[in-house]
């Protein structure tokens, strides 16, 4: 293996991981507050559509990001309205969001843009570009570690770094602030939190709001950085993969980051291994590597390696006693 190959592997792993990281952090927050969030996929998809549509219509990156996050937060609140306020089934509500997003984005895209469900490609000035282009190209000339540093580490757009920096930020929020302590407590024992005089509903809505912003960023990333335009069902299961990463990370932000990076790396490797023969094992089918994140998560859940421990009150609606 040469340094150029490693550089591009690192680069594409990070590119694929970025939306997974944002989404996994979003689900860590929701689930630690006791709310199951299966709607990651739908929120991301709707955010991608909103960012794409707003980007085309306004030509502004800021407005595109705001639209993406706004729509996603609204969907989070809908989830909260159904499950936190009205104690509906959280799994069903999440599925509803996914199905609605999958249908409605296509309907709106066809009606507004007449391109078979796609938005027109976003203009270059709306899209996100490399954050440090000069640093990146300067670093690339260094022998051996140049491509890894230049392309792999410093050749990304701002959202990739935001995603990475949000990992310690969310960790700090969860484990080093009063809000985080309460949020974790509400996922374990809402009665105790209620008895302490803190509103269970307000905490869960707060967690869902931040969750919405993060899913919105993840969805916007897909149209602003990854693909040239929005297309129907472009999330292609990333929300579920982020959910898997969150479980793989045992409902904690930092291990979830490693899981996302692992899944991103597997994706990057799968594309490169297409048709390649490896010593000993022979040709590895691409599909085997694509299925690996899901297989690994099932194995982890089966308790074969370590034990996945979900928050105690996860999925249980809280009824305030009167």
């Amino acid at each position: 293996m040469d340094d150029v190959l490693i550089g591009s592997l690192v680069a594409s792993s990070l590119r694929v991981s970025a939306p997974l990281i944002l989404c996994a952090l979003a689900s860590v927050l929701a689930e630690r507050s006791g709310v199951i969030d299966l709607g990651l996929e739908g929120k991301m998809l709707f955010a991608a559509f909103a960012a794409g549509a707003a980007g085309v219509a306004s030509g502004s990156t800021t407005l595109a990001l705001l639209a993406g996050c706004g729509v996603s937060v609204l969907l989070s609140w809908l989830h909260g309205f159904a499950c936190v306020s009205h104690r509906g089934d959280q799994v069903i509500s999440g599925m509803a969001i996914n199905i609605i997003a999958s249908g409605l984005t296509a309907v709106l895209a066809v009606a507004w843009f007449h391109q078979g469900g796609q938005t027109p490609p976003l203009a270059s000035e709306v899209r996100l570009h490399e954050l440090f282009p000069s640093l990146s190209s300067a670093l690339r000339t260094i022998p051996y570690i140049g491509p890894v540093l230049g392309e792999g580490v410093f050749g990304h757009n701002v959202l990739v770094y935001v995603g990475l920096l949000l990992v310690p930020a969310i960790w700090w929020l969860l484990y080093r602030t009063r809000f985080g302590l309460r949020l974790r407590a509400v996922g374990e024992n809402p009665h105790m939190v209620d008895a302490a005089g803190v509103s269970v509903q307000r905490l869960r809505y707060a967690a869902l709001s931040i969750n919405g912003v993060l899913c919105g960023l993840a969805g916007s990333y897909l149209v602003l950085a990854q693909s040239p335009s929005f297309s129907p069902n472009m999330t292609a299961g990333r929300g579920y993969m982020a959910l898997a990463a969150m479980i793989f990370g045992n409902w904690r932000p930092v291990p979830a980051l490693w899981a996302c990076l692992l899944f991103g790396f597997l994706d990057a490797v799968a594309i490169r291994l297409q048709g390649a023969r490896l010593p000993v094992v022979g040709e590895i089918p691409v599909q085997a590597i694509q299925a690996l994140p899901y297989v690994l998560t099932v194995i982890l859940l089966a308790g074969v390696m370590g034990r996945a421990i979900a928050p105690q009150a996860l999925g249980r609606p809280y009824l305030k006693e009167r």
């Binding site: 199905i99 309907v107 066809v110």
Partner: protein, 378 residues
Amino acid sequence: MTSTTPLPRWADVTLLPLLNLAVALGVAALVVAAVGQDPLQVLTLMVQGAFGTPRGLSYSLYYATTFIFTGLAVAVAAQGGLFNIGGEGQAMMGGLAAGLVALWLAPSLPAVVMLPLMLLASIAGGAAWAAVPAYLQAYRGSHVVITTIMFNFIAGTLLVYLLVNHLKAPGNMSVESAAFAPSAHLPAMHEALAWIGIEWPSSPLNVSLLLAIAACFVVYAYLWRTRAGYRLRAVGASPTAAEYAGITPERQVMISMALSGALAGLVGMNEIAGVNGKLLLDFVSGAGFTGIAVALMGRSHPVGIVLSSVLFGALFQGGAEVTFELPGFTRDMVVAVQGFIVLFSGAMAYVLAPYLAAALGMILQGPVAMGAKEASRG
């Protein structure tokens, strides 16, 4: 999904579901109006397309057949207290198993042997794919919702792998297997009706509709007319109470998931044996998720499931017709409607219940209002 409604039972099983359906369809009508179409025109075209001609009706029932299978699958799991999101993957595996058996044995066996074999294979394929998450839920404590989602993706990639690398017919551009021998072909409804002298236009509707109706009877009889079914529902209602009564919850989890998977696997009979006559990639195409909406709307009861399957079949067929007639309308609208129904009939099913109870109390006074008071006190 426990009900704590202050509603009398008759209103809880008829009025409330209809009200929720009306809200879902109302929101869908708003969306249709928002994208510049006339909701009434869309509705008329849909009803005409779905029921107006024998051909349209056949297509509606063909879609409904698949939804009955996936809806029953979700319902049986729900009666056992489990949420099976894996209908999609289980249906894929059912179809795959039926297809593999057909590719392997159909050239040398007559239809009388072949079709029952394919039926068993689709049942076994679906049940096996559901049994693993069931085992993990029952004995390893991992949540069936998460594992069935993962198994959907694993089934999808497995199907792609087998089709691309092993089953694809040489020289064929599209990713699909060779066509099955004629003995693996489930008779279409127009063929079956021709035998008894009725003329019917040709359509994908096939005799697996009868299989679906039979499945409804079997599920009803098993769940509500046998002790085994009572045990299953007891665990669904309260695992701890069931355990005190001497029922092993773990075994009931295995049974309800295996049954659920088997029902989802039967989609393979409709789509693979009945319509396509070969293995291909997208033969389930979301039907497993539609099953969730069907079961929620049908209140996990076979009668409700048949009714809501026909509604969804009509939506799919009608939606396809409207797409022809109205430029700018896409069939994805039907997916959105499905989502609204899951939201309003599922997640928010009881949001409107107090208002409905109040309205009923005002209209009827007396017994209903009394019942409401007692329920809210308890």
